[in-house]
């Protein structure tokens, strides 16, 4: 079995699977259950300042998007940071960490954007024995309206300033949690790095309305006839998160900045994908909220099997392995030519490829009277839509044309690598000549 032990910015955990700061990590009871189930680490639900805790709504706080069979694809929430007294949380954190010294325990923090507030909270958490702090610059609802959470995360200067305070007043490793509700995630990541952050974690939740009740005409979850945007998470946001992780990982400024990957991690495979794109570990929330803590067992066994099959002896062998293959569109090889091919033995003759191609793409699939579907190479632009909509795995595949072969659509011979930067249709390329 592969060695899954993880060392993320000096914080050790028996595996790279942490629970994200969220409802599952709000109390000692839950966190103990998580550690018993096998989670490598926990980021404790965000603590606020000393004083009366925040309050939550007393109606529904989650909205959901379903796939087939009520499979949860995404959840949004309007829950705020912990609504329990600070001293209770601190006492529990200390107690849990004492009993689980081998697990990572990170404290998430969100206090008003002034130096005294941060200095004070850092002082209060000092003797909990926690392994590090995570700065919640991400939550998009409720707290943002009070100048915290994503309101900070959307201003790189604030990120840098607060991170600097944290590093100044604490010796703990500091992770800055980023919001995806921005235009270019590299900017807040760079700001965190300038402020001295040891790592960033991303993504926090995405601004969202999951659904509208068509009888009451209110967004859901609905509180007394009204709804508010919430933070979206779960499998639906994974593609957004993967891209943002990759953007930071391949950005020269932030390439060395450790990343804790968050956003729809549901299976070992999701975790491996985040790690391949540069995440040193992953954080999970929605999958645990959907299925309970036991899922970590599948993540452990799955990642371990995968690493064994690949011959990886440590997670470091996997982390960042896909980053060199993430590039800009302009560098993609325009002489890479593929054609769809339909395996007639696997084809179940549903005709979805035909409908998709005929109605919405390039009219490159022919249909015979007896429902045999075949690709018209002279029309196929290799868009891959037929592969995507085919319900049978590997029934339609893309065949790569060898160098020297003629593309039946363009009549051109497949040549060596060439990209847009040198393409004759590119005005910039012509200008360079």
């Amino acid at each position: 079995m592969a060695d899954l032990t993880s060392n993320f910015i000096g914080i050790k955990s028996p595996n790279p699977f942490w629970l994200a700061s969220a409802p599952p990590t709000d109390k000692e009871y839950n966190v103990r259950r998580a550690f018993e189930a096998g989670w490598g680490g926990v980021v404790w639900k965000t603590l606020g300042s000393e004083g009366p805790p925040v309050v939550n709504v007393n109606g529904p706080r989650y909205g959901v998007v379903y796939g087939a069979d009520r499979r949860v694809l995404g959840i949004n929430n309007i829950e705020l940071i912990t609504d329990r007294p600070l001293e209770v949380n601190l006492r529990e954190i200390k107690s849990v960490k004492r009993d689980y010294p081998d697990r990572a325990l990170i404290i998430s923090l969100m206090v008003p954007c002034d130096e005294e507030s941060w200095k004070d909270i850092l002082h209060r958490i000092e003797d909990t024995g926690a392994d590090g702090v995570e700065l919640n610059f991400g939550c998009p609802h409720g707290m943002a309206e009070r100048g915290m959470g994503s309101a900070v995360g959307q201003v790189p200067e604030y990120i840098e300033m607060v991170t600097r305070w944290v590093k100044q007043y604490s010796r703990m490793p500091c992770i800055v949690k980023l919001t995806p509700n921005i235009t270019d995630v590299r900017k807040p990541a760079e700001a965190a790095m300038r402020g001295g952050a040891d790592a960033v974690s991303l993504i926090n939740t995405v601004n969202s309305i999951t659904s509208v009740n068509l009888d009451s005409f209110a967004p859901e979850p609905t509180i007394d006839g009204k709804g508010s945007h919430g933070g979206y998470c779960g499998p639906a946001v994974k593609p957004i998160a993967l891209n943002m992780v990759a953007e930071i990982a391949r950005n020269a400024e932030t390439a060395r900045l450790p990343i804790s990957g968050i956003g729809g991690v549901t299976t070992w495979r999701d975790a491996a994908e985040f790690m391949a794109l540069g995440a040193g570990n992953v954080q999970v929330c929605t999958a645990a909220m959907t299925y309970g803590f036991k899922i970590v067992q599948e993540m452990i066994s799955g990642l371990s099997q995968y690493m064994d099959e690949k011959g990886f002896t440590s997670t470091a062998d996997l982390v960042g392995r896909a980053v060199p293959n993430v590039t800009d569109w302009q560098y993609l090889n325009l002489n890479y030519v593929t054609k769809a091919e339909i395996d007639q033995d696997l084809c179940i003759k549903c005709g979805r490829c035909y409908a998709a191609c005929e109605d919405t793409s390039h009219q490159a699939i022919a249909m015979s009277a007896d429902r045999v579907f075949s690709v018209k190479d002279e029309e196929c632009v290799a868009c891959n839509l037929c592969v995507d909509v085919c319900p049978v795995e590997n029934c339609i595949t893309m065949r790569e044309l060898a160098k020297g072969e003629v593309d039946a659509r363009t009549g051109k011979t497949v040549g060596d690598y060439a990209n847009w930067t040198t393409h004759p249709n590119n005005p910039a390329a012509q200008a360079a000549e």
Binding site: A68, R70, I348, K349, C350, G351, R352, A355, R371, V392
Partner: protein
């Protein structure tokens, strides 16, 4: 309980009340909303879908399933009813495993089709239980149409004609409308008085009068109907039962499976129905299976279907055959009745083994006997009571693709008409198409 399955001879009340209730309960209960949505999600929404082509009424199956999946079963029902006004009954009795579900690409791919029949029932039941009729009549045309026979073909034709604005009168010899929907079909496929509820719902379109107790030859003549109406539709079914042509056929307790099924359907208290301890059903179609299975469900100890050819030739679907086997009916293939043995009443049936060869079916010398308190004949039905002057073809009224007979102004549809299989859904399609042709010819 005085009688049991072991009581000799023919006896009622062989089972307990709970057994009867369970045995004749809905065999395939309706999906609940979640089941329907999960089942609907399996549909691939095929292009030019094979299921739709396989349906004799050409229901847009992918569309109605998508309408279920998106939470509008009422709209799904309207999609179904626009092609097949008896979509509710067809959802219960169609041999879907030989039609839409057989060609479902998921059946081809994984041996597990989208459950189209059950989804159709979910949609049609949802709308019908609201008591609303989804269609309105066109403005009155003043044309009068006679429909003879209130079975699936007749009802389908009448509804479509009424919808087009014509005034329709349906004549039927039985006390209730519905034809085989009411008097045929195993009880457990359509419990709860569904057949009559469906007729009542169908008639809500308006413009249809039903006259029971009227048939050609008893109060009606084709000439008379033609004189009083602008068009006539014959949907008289196949009222005759083929004979065994075996010695002892006229013994007591040798009966028609069709009559047995009809009597069973009309008796609400199944405990009152007498059934033999040993029952032999002769035939290989749906009627044979329905009679045999229900004999078993009434408490017969031994029920045997005997079919003269091999299993592959049975017209009962493999699904039906498996159902028969699952309730304990034994099916013997390749044996033909030689004679019914008995003293006044049937006691045994003697069969000869057969060989189905290129030059026809041959009886072998070897014979065997089965005990039989009741012998049910289910070897096919024949056209009887067809009016004089109509061209008959292959034992049925000859029709064109849209149901035109050899006599101008007279159409025929359903089992009595040539072409198509003897299925409810085919009858509905033929009735509908005849109605459309009549409407076109009168416009």
């Amino acid at each position: 309980m005085t009688n049991s399955q072991l009581t000799p001879g023919i006896a009622a009340g062989r089972l307990g009340a709970e057994d009867y209730a369970r045995n004749f309960d809905d065999i395939a209960p309706r999906y609940d909303g979640h089941e329907a949505r999960v089942a609907a999600d399996r549909c691939y929404f095929c292009h030019d879908a094979p299921c739709m082509t396989a349906c004799p009424t050409s229901i847009d199956i992918p569309l109605f399933i998508r309408q279920i999946a998106t939470g509008t079963p009422e709209a799904a029902a309207k999609t179904i009813f626009s092609q097949n006004i008896l979509g509710g009954m067809c959802a219960r009795v169609c041999p879907t495993e030989q039609l839409c579900e057989e060609v479902c690409v998921r059946e081809v791919a994984e041996g597990k089709p989208v459950e189209i029949g059950r989804l159709q029932r979910f949609a049609t039941d949802t709308l019908m239980e609201k008591g609303v009729h989804p269609f309105a009549r066109a403005s009155a045309t003043g044309k009068r149409i006679a429909v003879v026979g209130a079975g699936p073909a007749g009802l389908s034709a009448a509804h479509r004609l009424a919808m087009k604005g014509h005034d329709v009168t349906i004549f039927d010899p039985r006390p209730k409308a519905g034809g085989l929907n009411e008097y045929g079909i195993a009880s457990y496929k359509t419990p709860g008085g569904f057949a009559q509820a469906e007729v009542d719902w169908l008639l809500k379109i308006g413009g249809i009068a039903v006259q029971n107790g009227k048939a050609l030859g008893s109060g009606l003549t084709l000439e008379g109907l033609k004189a009083d109406h602008d068009a006539v539709v014959l949907a008289i079914g196949l009222a005759g039962v083929n004979a065994l042509r075996a010695e002892g056929e006229d013994l007591k307790n040798v009966l028609s499976a069709v009559d047995f099924i009809a009597e069973l359907r009309q008796q609400p208290d199944k405990a009152k129905l007498p059934i033999g301890r040993d029952v032999v059903v002769i035939g290989g179609g749906m009627t044979a299976v329905d009679a045999a299975v229900q004999s078993k469900l009434l408490g017969a100890e031994n029920v045997t279907i005997v079919y003269r050819r091999g299993q592959e030739r049975m017209s009962a679907s493999s699904h039906e055959q498996e159902h028969a086997a699952s309730v304990g009916v034994r099916i013997i293939h390749n044996a033909a009745p030689v004679r019914v043995v008995g003293n006044g009443a049937a006691q045994e049936v003697e069969f000869a083994y057969t060989e189905d060869s290129a030059d026809g079916l041959k009886q072998k010398d070897e014979t065997f006997r089965l005990k039989a308190d009741q012998v049910m004949k289910a070897i096919g039905q024949t056209l009887t009571g067809a009016p004089e002057g109509l061209k008959i073809e292959g034992g049925k009224i000859a029709v064109t693709g849209t149901g035109r007979t050899s006599v101008t102004g007279v159409w025929a549809a359903g089992d009595c008409a040539s072409g198509g299989e003897d299925l409810t859904v085919t009858a509905v399609a033929e009735g509908r198409d005849a109605a459309e042709d009549i409407h076109a010819s009168l416009s």
